[in-house]
Symmetry: C2
Subunit: 243 residues, 2 copies
Amino acid sequence: MTQQLKTYKDIRQIVMARITSQIWPVGELIPNEQDLAEEFGVARATVNRAIQEIADAGFVERRRKAGTRVVPRRSRDAVVQIPIIGEQISDMGRYYSYQLVAREIVPVTKKIAKELSLTPRTPAMHLICRHFADDIVWQLEDRWINLAAVPTVKAQKFDVIGPNEWLVREIPYSNAEHVFRAATASSIERRHLDLESDEPVFVIERKTWQASNIITWVRLSHSGNRFSMTTRDEIPYGKDALE
Amino acid sequence: MTQQLKTYKDIRQIVMARITSQIWPVGELIPNEQDLAEEFGVARATVNRAIQEIADAGFVERRRKAGTRVVPRRSRDAVVQIPIIGEQISDMGRYYSYQLVAREIVPVTKKIAKELSLTPRTPAMHLICRHFADDIVWQLEDRWINLAAVPTVKAQKFDVIGPNEWLVREIPYSNAEHVFRAATASSIERRHLDLESDEPVFVIERKTWQASNIITWVRLSHSGNRFSMTTRDEIPYGKDALE
DNA sequence: TAGTGGTCTAGACCACACT
DNA sequence: GTGTGGTCTAGACCACTAT
């Protein structure tokens, strides 16, 4: 019998299988690294790497002296990927186009002042844009940009590329907060989204910042009849080692 | 001057800072592991671990011989945590209660047959439940369970604990697919969710499976006026090493 | 105090993919 | 062919924390 050498991925897969199959049930301690290293015939560092990754993925908790314990599943994570709108529409196999509806520098409203952490009536750039899939309005964008955080925005006309795309190039690594909700369409949305009567809208609101500078706040609205968000979340480390 | 020893977290933080500050701009190669190891005065394995994690988080792409390259941000991941409903309501500081509205074993509808991959008219368990926050209906649950995948469900009355909670205990490690949408309320939803007239609903549909067995499909509906989902997604590895 | 995980090292060999 | 990352090892020391 040929003894195959085990990699950290093999070990990760075996350990994960023992957890999901409840050989090591929720709440139980699993053997320590030294014992597993002997069982699998590898160095302790190899076992450590395998179990580290399982711990990072949230399936076990490790504490010095106490050992490694299978944790109860307290919530389900759904990872929503929010693509650049143009790419999303192209990926659907449809023709993307963009229209700038309004661009103005105006004092912020009370609500936006709060979102951008500005004092009331500070000037900010306000944009309204429409994003089309073929000839259907797919997304209405209502955006405010903090001029202090992104002064170069004043030179941008946004007649050809949208503010989202421009901001992603300008400030590639920003933090974000999203709110998803179902809403009754506002009058602006009714006017620009070509909605059926009483059709709800799916709204994504996003605030982005870098360090402590709030950069922009945006409300993205979509026809409730046409739009949905889908995620697929599988237990990781399942079949890596099966080739 | 005291030379501090650098850990892999220090290096991860420094490298990440060089990426986010665009010292190493999008699209560029970064130095190889050997050079970085020398710069930081650590073993190559330490640099490897730091950059591995940054690659896992999706900020760089590594290829043998070609090196490590800063990748353009193509989409934004928003991680939505969908908690066990009872815990979510308790966490809001409100009183959670549960009501079973209907429990029956009936042939699946055409739509559900498709979702559960069953032949039409196979019997399945159908449940309607209401979840309350204080005295408000917070969530309406319309659930179908595949009897072949979970035979023990037939013995469950679900008069005290909800099917979600029971299934999480029974089958802790299942895969899931979610769909989020804004919809006009159906008649069942209008009847059970105490909605204002023409109020939209926020709908979460979830299908779960383990290996190739589809376990359950559920539609969770919420008042659009009261419900929203929020995520906060920050660039990782920012301040770990600053204490 | 003792047992566990957390991390580092120096060296090694390998797998891959650019040339 | 050759330079890069991918991984493993054996040993070491450290940092927690349960007891």
